[in-house]
């Protein structure tokens, strides 16, 4: 299960556990450690798996998972023992990077009882390694401390032609009774098997995702076996949907007969809501110090909304993100008092302190648990598999929400203003784009309410870029560009500028121009409303670009699209490792962007050719551009609207063609011809 903070690690397929070759290898090399024992024998299950004959696979197949078996034994006291064993045939050298070892996360509640691994050489010899050969390490980060550690073993001699295998047993004392069985991998899987044993009187549910439902065999009372065969590998693609939404897996939930253990069952969103509400009880109590700070902050604020804004602003700018998560601390926030005293915390800590501060002004708020990966939460499958906590602020009657785009209506709780205190740059009224178009669980005293966080309309994420430029007969271009940004384009830019010292901010303009102009000089730059998150961010910059237009004979050639790119780098997403893309593409947000460029042309030049107008549209986006010349001024105007953010696989050709039209427009050139004054007059 993942912990609830932004920087969590994902569980997933076998490959995620089989990635230690580099780390463990380096450490073992440094330590000179090796106690692998040659001449051992492999367990029967591994020997049998290794002997199977394989069908033909594509030549770039790194490895084949011969067997991936998970045996879960639930004990009547709620402890769960999981035995995981796998056999992998290494096909290519790259397999050593991905399948060179086994790494298992553990903490005080998930103890590793045993860990063993084997390599079967092509000649049948077996090299075995065990727990005493393992290395143990933690996760260090500038942003978090947690008590999760990793135990890792490197398979000896893990080269093509070998079969490697491992087996470990882990005891888990879960906070809730839910389990995931991941049976698909980045490499093909021959056989994946789940064996489940539950105590007498316990019930369970099994839900299948991204795979047809299979019925279990029951070889013994309270024992259930599922098996799937010949699953294709899922190749990782850039900007693909989350693994959970593409790979086959089964979700298990246990329902004990003992009523005392029932609270750990997550059969419904209500159950999860109650569990979390109980876990966070009294965490949001405002101390006198907090109340004093709230009074101080809101002293000059007029009206409830202004007071809310003051507090959300304080939380974004003053409370540093740092997560300390020990044990249940992966889910349970620190108390508001602790967070306030230390002035740092993770997402749930920040939500907790903000909630306490809001209470101090009489505003109720609710935790919202959500995932930063769009589409990961399935509203039909109640689960605690989230990675982030934000806040829903209940808006009192009388507050005008016209400019608050993040308001949702909950039938029971009323108008809820969704706000992410962890994101330092997205202002009140907006939602970070990575949280939009996703399901989230609002935690209320009566349980959890699953809600759809909307995709904000394109007009809320706006970029308007206007340019007044002048071209000389020698092709030099100079002038001024102004950008107006709000919504996501403003937050992204604010983040970039505010992370730098004022003296370094000019370099951002410089680097931006450098993406499009081969030679230029920035002659001025300024920013407006950088710190006023609720206001339109403005960027003004002036430049001089020598020889922007190229001379060719008596022609002067220039691209009217002087700066700015509209997603054409995504064109590289459609082919992955020389093969057509298999999965959907996601844009970050819906957006509306317009460029209006006026270039005053040198006297004596007339158009010899202008870019053709472009009108491109598809179900997800629209683009149009037009270039005209009037009164010696070249006018280039284009508009891009991204209307929907997830483009499914069957629509990829459509969006690719759309982006190709934009790319062609961006490189399109205007050709100007020098004419004699008389000819010019005639024209």
């Amino acid at each position: 299960m993942r912990r609830w903070c932004l920087k969590t690690r994902r569980p997933a397929s076998l490959i995620n556990r089989l990635v230690v070759a580099g780390v463990a290898g380096a450490v073992l090399l440094a330590c000179g450690a090796s106690r692998a024992s040659a001449g051992s024998s492999a367990p029967d299950w591994l020997s049998v798996a290794a002997q199977q004959k394989l069908p033909a696979y594509p030549k770039d197949t790194k490895a084949v998972i011969l067997l991936d078996e998970t045996a879960i034994t639930v004990q009547s006291n709620g402890d769960i023992y999981t035995r995981h064993r796998a056999a992998v045939r290494l096909m290519r050298p790259e397999a050593r990077d991905d399948y060179g070892g086994i790494a298992v996360d553990f903490d005080k509640d998930t103890k590793i009882e045993s860990l063993n691994a084997w390599t079967i050489e092509p000649d049948g010899r077996v090299i075995a390694v065990g727990e005493k050969d393992a290395i143990e390490h933690g996760y260090l980060s500038d942003l978090e401390y947690d008590d999760v550690k990793v135990k890792a073993l490197e398979f000896p001699d893990a080269y093509p032609g070998r079969v490697v295998g491992f087996e470990y047993v882990q005891r888990d004392r879960p906070y809730v009774f839910e389990d995931d069985w991941w049976f698909q991998d980045q490499s093909p899987v021959r056989t994946a098997r789940l064996i489940l044993q539950v105590p007498s009187g316990w019930e369970f549910t099994a839900n299948w995702f991204n795979h047809a439902e299979m019925k279990p065999q029951t070889p013994a009372p309270n024992e259930y076996v599922w098996e799937v065969d010949d699953l294709p590998g899922i190749e990782i693609e850039p900007q693909m949907p989350p693994w959970r939404t593409v790979a086959g897996w089964m979700g298990l939930k246990y329902f004990p007969s003992d009523p005392a253990l029932r609270a750990k069952s997550t059969g419904s969103w209500t159950d999860i809501g109650l569990w979390y509400d109980n876990l966070t009880k009294s965490r949001r109590d405002a101390t006198p110090e907090i109340r004093q700070k709230v009074a101080e902050l809101t002293a000059g604020a007029t009206g409830t909304l202004q007071k809310i804004r003051v507090l959300t602003d304080y939380m974004q700018r003053n409370i540093r993100y740092f997560a300390v998560e020990i044990g249940i601390g992966g889910y349970q926030p620190h108390s508001a008092a602790e967070v306030f005293a230390r002035q740092y915390g993770d997402c749930k800590d920040k939500a907790t302190l903000l909630s306490a501060m809001l209470r101090a002004i009489g505003i109720e708020s609710y935790y919202v648990i959500i995932d930063t990966n769009r589409g990961l939460v399935n509203s039909d499958y109640p689960s605690i598999d989230f990675n982030h906590v934000i806040l829903a602020i209940r808006l009192p009657d009388g507050i005008d929400d016209a400019n608050l785009y993040s308001v949702i209506d909950d039938p029971k709780l009323g108008r809820l203003l969704i706000f992410d205190p962890t994101n330092e740059y997205v202002p009140l009224g907006y939602i970070p784009s990575y949280l939009q178009d996703s399901y989230a669980l609002v935690i209320a005293p009566d349980g959890g309410h699953i809600e759809k966080i909307p995709l904000l309309p394109p007009s809320t994420n706006r970029l308007l870029r206007t340019a007044k430029l002048t071209l000389t007969p020698t092709g030099n271009l100079s002038g001024e560009i102004q950008e107006l940004r709000w919504g996501a384009p403003a937050s992204e830019e604010r983040q970039m500028f505010l992370s730098l010292q004022p003296s370094k901010r000019e370099e951002v303009f410089d680097n931006f121009l450098g993406e499009f102009l081969n030679s230029f000089q920035l002659t001025g730059a300024s920013l407006g409303n950088l710190n006023n998150y609720g206001q339109t961010l403005t960027l003004d910059y002036k430049f001089f670009a020598p020889e922007y237009a190229k001379s060719a004979g008596n022609l002067l050639i220039l691209s009217p699209r002087v700066v700015g790119d509209k997603y054409t780098s995504d064109l590289d997403l459609f082919t992955v490792n020389g093969k057509p893309r298999q999965y959907a593409i996601e844009f970050d947000e819906a957006t509306l962007q317009t460029d209006v460029f006026d270039i005053t042309l040198p006297a004596g030049y007339v158009p010899d050719g202008l870019p053709r107008p472009v009108q491109a549209s598809c179900d997800y986006a629209m683009y149009r551009s037009d270039t005209t010349i009037k009164d010696g001024v070249l006018h280039y105007q284009r508009t891009l609207e991204i209307k929907d953010v997830v483009v499914p696989k069957d629509k990829l050709p459509e969006i690719r063609a759309f982006l190709q039209q934009i790319a062609a427009d961006q490189t399109a050139a205007a050709v100007l011809k020098k004419v004699s004054p008389v000819a010019a007059e005639v024209r």
């Binding site: 073992l28 050298p93 005493k132 401390y145 000896p156 001699d157 190229k550």
Partner: protein, 667 residues
């Protein structure tokens, strides 16, 4: 391997030197220094503006006086001014330590808010596991200071205490990833070592101007420094190891060469030792002569003989190029240690060092003057002969002379043609073992002609602006060697994938490039040749009846390394190189050339570029040549290179105009 008793984390102090323990006074607890109003008000570093944070004060004290009894100790005190939100990350402190030989008895800190309010750290110092395995236990003490925000000052200190009889790495790293305004370093040597004949000495590396070592009456060493620049990560920067100022302390072992000796005396000791090792390993005349008779012919020229010997030793399986093997894996494969050249030639496998010695043995057997050379590889160190630091010489190669011609070769590098050294071994200083005499040498400067990328593309253009093309790329000399080395563990599929990815980086966005053939992967003397096909849905642009095409389809990727306006470091190309492009463009039927850009040439001596375009019947041929001829350039040259690559990009993208003669007039 360094034969000096250099103190390190893994060096236990020998019992013999634990003679007379003398109780030394404990360090007085370091309190926090007063905070000035000026520092609280500071908004940026006036001497190096723009950073996220700077070190206002740093104090490091290493005390080895009690190493025999309780181990040595290290105390560090750091005060940092935070300027930006990004700088708040310094509020989280991590102190890694090796539990098997040291402890962190104290760690703490505090935050001073911009208004002067002090917030002490009163939380728990947490312990994180870095690595734990079979006796090795690396942990980190971590803690997060409260209320860290831009404008505040944070400070922390910690003590490190080695276990009895252990020493830390005895030295000072003077610089940091932040600018340091003031720093104090102190070292108390172990005077009991001194009485046992192990004299403490120090070596300074790249000290900032004005830095002076002070030797105090109590035998301690101290240094006070001001305004130490941060080492900023930038593309094309010199290796960090060659930039980092430091001081290393060591103890001279009786009977071993003394680094304070004159260099001639110091290096002679090693030359004698190395010479003996060469003689011992190659002392198998029969085996060598028998091998020479097999591989050389009477009519071979001297260079031909050397080439044949080079080719022969390249056939030896190079164990140093393979993954680390455990003892069990080595045993399972029945690999025996080679004791001499006869073993190597018979068994067919050897370490890189042994392969070089085998080359020397064969060359000597063929009548050449040949010997071993130890150099400081440019990617990790600098050779300063007078420092008498054998640790700098971490790479080895061979020198051989044929008539008046001298050759520096590295057969152990495996993937580099005869006469071509890996880039980090070229223009590198070191010691040549001339019998018992050490000769200080610098290996030859690399030449740009030894590292060329020759790209040829034949483009067929369609009326809809799409193109299909055949592409051929030759990676010669060093370029081929580097690729062969980096992809040595891959199979054909992996190499193809890697090369396609590298080549795609040169091509316009949306390009579909597939390799059809890779030639001469195993023949290191030949260029590595890659052939492939390219498809692009839209190349260039149209304007009414005109079609406009950039001259070179290969993008100048170097411009990305010069994107930043400001520069902190010198410009460092690892090696000189050339790019030679020939692009043939076949226009669609009905199109003729309306205009072509003029030839362009930019000659900065160290960087030369020229591009020409000419019509060849119905097609157009573009020839482009880029040469970088030098390695290290002063920081002041950065704007010149930035402008140069800007112009390269401009001229690469200069457009030829093709006119459609079959369409009508202007729109």
């Amino acid at each position: 391997m360094n034969r000096i008793l250099r103190c390190s984390s893994q060096v236990i102090v020998v019992a013999a030197v634990i003679l007379m323990a003398r109780v030394m006074p404990a360090f007085a607890t370091v309190g926090w220094l007063p905070v000035s109003a000026d520092d609280l008000a500071l908004k940026d570093n006036p001497k190096e503006p723009g950073a996220d944070a700077m070190i206002l004060y740093r104090e490091v004290t290493v005390d080895a006086r009690k190493a025999n009894i309780s181990g040595d100790s290290l105390e560090e005190y750091v005060r940092i001014k935070i300027f930006t939100q990004a700088g708040t990350k310094y509020g989280h402190i991590e102190i890694p330590y090796d539990q098997s030989f040291e402890t962190i008895p104290y760690a703490g800190g505090r935050t001073i808010l911009p208004d002067g309010t002090i917030k002490d750290f009163d939380g728990q110092v947490l312990n994180s596991t870095l690595v734990r395995t079979g006796g090795v236990e690396y942990f980190a003490k971590t803690f997060t200071l409260p209320d860290v925000q831009p404008g505040c000052i944070i400070e922390y200190r910690y003590d490190r205490q080695a276990r009895p009889g252990w020493l830390h790495d005895e030295g000072w790293t003077l610089s940091s990833n932040m600018y340091t305004r003031e720093a104090h370093f102190t070292y108390y040597p172990n005077d009991i070592f001194d009485q046992a004949g192990y004299h403490a000495q120090y070596r300074p590396y790249l000290l900032p101007a004005g830095a002076k070592m002070k030797e105090n009456a109590d035998h301690s060493y101290a240094m006070e420094l001001h305004d130490i620049a941060a080492i900023v990560d930038e593309p094309l920067m010199p290796p960090k190891a060659a930039m980092e100022p430091s001081v290393e302390f060591y103890y001279v072992t009786p009977g071993e060469p003394d680094p304070t000796d004159p260099p001639t005396k110091f290096w002679s000791h090693y030359a004698k030792q190395w010479s003996g090792e060469i003689s011992h390993f190659t002392d198998k005349k029969d085996a060598l002569n028998q091998e020479i008779s097999k591989i050389l012919s009477a009519g071979d020229s001297p260079e031909m003989k050397l080439r044949k010997i080079y080719a022969r030793v390249e056939q030896i399986r190079n164990l140093s190029m393979e993954d680390y093997r455990t003892q069990k894996e080595t045993k399972a494969e029945d690999l025996k240690p080679d004791g001499n050249v006869a073993d190597v030639l018979e068994r067919g496998y050897a370490t890189g060092h042994q392969i070089n010695l085998t080359f020397i043995g064969l060359a000597r057997a063929a009548g050449f003057d040949a010997t071993e050379v130890f150099v400081a590889p440019r990617n990790t160190s600098l050779f300063i002969p007078n420092q008498n630091d054998i640790g700098e010489l971490s790479a080895e190669l061979v020198w051989v002379k044929a008539g008046s011609q001298e050759y520096y070769l590295d057969p152990s590098a495996r993937y580099f043609p005869f006469g071509v050294l890996p880039w980090y071994e070229s223009e590198a200083g070191g010691i040549r073992v001339d019998g018992h005499t050490p000769t200080i040498i610098t290996t030859p400067n690399p030449s740009s002609s030894q590292a060329t990328i020759v790209r040829t593309a034949n483009l067929t253009l369609q009326p809809d602006n799409s193109i299909s093309a055949t592409v051929q790329i030759d990676f010669t000399g060093l370029e081929g060697g580097m690729l062969r080395y980096s992809d040595r563990k891959d199979d054909q599929t992996g190499r193809t994938k890697d090369l396609e990815s590298r080549i795609k980086d040169w091509l316009p966005i949306g390009s579909e490039f597939s390799i059809t053939k890779i030639d001469d992967w195993d023949d290191i003397e030949k260029p590595l040749r890659v052939e492939g096909t390219l498809k692009l849905a839209s190349y260039g642009s149209t304007a009414s009846r005109d079609m406009l095409l950039p001259l070179d389809i290969f993008q100048a990727t170097q411009a990305g390394d010069f994107a930043e306006q400001t520069r902190h470091n010198a410009v460092y190309f690892q090696y000189p190189y050339q790019e030679i492009d020939t692009i043939t463009v076949n226009p669609p039927p009905g199109y003729k050339i309306e205009a072509m850009p003029k030839p362009q040439k930019i000659d900065l001596k160290a960087a030369v570029y020229d591009i020409t375009v000419a019509s060849q019947g119905n097609s157009v041929e573009v020839n482009r040549h880029l040469t970088i001829d030098g390695v290290l350039f002063a920081k002041e040259a950065y704007p010149t290179f930035r402008a140069f690559f800007g112009l390269v990009r401009t001229n690469d993208n200069a457009q030829m105009v093709l006119e459609n003669t079959q369409t009508g007039q202007l729109n």
